[in-house]
Subunit: 202 residues, 2 copies
Amino acid sequence: MTTASPIEFWFDFSSGYAYLAAQEIDALGARVDRPILWRPYMLGTAFKVTGMRGLSSTPVKGDYARYDWARAARRMGVPFAPPVEHPKVALPATRAFYWIESAHPGQEQRFAREVFRRYYSGKLDTSDPDAVAALAGGLGLDAAQLRAGLEAAAIKDQVRTTSESAVQRGIFGSPFFVVEGEPFWGWDRLPMLEEWIRTGGW
Amino acid sequence: MTTASPIEFWFDFSSGYAYLAAQEIDALGARVDRPILWRPYMLGTAFKVTGMRGLSSTPVKGDYARYDWARAARRMGVPFAPPVEHPKVALPATRAFYWIESAHPGQEQRFAREVFRRYYSGKLDTSDPDAVAALAGGLGLDAAQLRAGLEAAAIKDQVRTTSESAVQRGIFGSPFFVVEGEPFWGWDRLPMLEEWIRTGGW
């Protein structure tokens, strides 16, 4: 078991670039012998502070982003087919992640990877608590228990405060990585993040 | 002399990421045997369409961008010290580029590189026509002739229409690259651009 500081992997399930990063982050962590701390959060919380808006709703840039996501996914050999209503507000999926992390620690990354895989195959509505619970059930977790957990004030509070404190730390995008306090925004910063860890920074 | 299609390099002189790209684009072009077509434009023209605003004026994200520019420049071994009023509106420098391209073809890239070098060393106000003309004079061009050229309606029109038609083609950021119609936005897309050219795309 490694004792090195983790790479924090902050993301919103509805972020195309987070999906791309999710394909690569585990292998990167293995190469540099660092655990990955998966931290889904609600990017909308950051948008309130930065005044930014989602790529998909930005004229011209949104068209490019959709093209760029598909191009990168094609290169990786993974599908890129989110629901036509993309981006969904993935609050139930995010709450489910933290419920699983608390109730079944060690299962939450597997759940997150499956959320990404199914959402970007057009097979999961991340904004539907029942669909999210069913997916967890398919992974061997107790779907009814999780479904009830999604309504618990403690989980709702956790997701809200997690998102708010991320933004207070300067985390404003998705994906966004932090390692030993060093911030890296964007899927395309993964090579720099890896070099930073290997060299000890510059 | 190569006959391959050029790599279009669209940028605003006041874009930190364009400065970073300017350090690397010529070597990339040489590796893949492609000429680089330097195309400064006014990013503000794109902002009007996309509703985006400059990184420097975006809360939280602006702080990160300043940190990220300096970190990347440090890695490259180049200075990153733009004027404290950064970003300047580099309209005179952009007009000068096209005046030189027209009056002294072949000199415009050298001029652009010098604009980047001096602006990001805090030694040039790209929004000051006299300073821009003096810089051109230092490169052996006729400063007085260029200074007069900056007031010509033809040059003003050229910069405006160049910027507008770029945006109409879907160019909305800086740096932004196009090769054989394929768009790549951002300094961090240079490795993908190079792979695209080498492989013929995917």
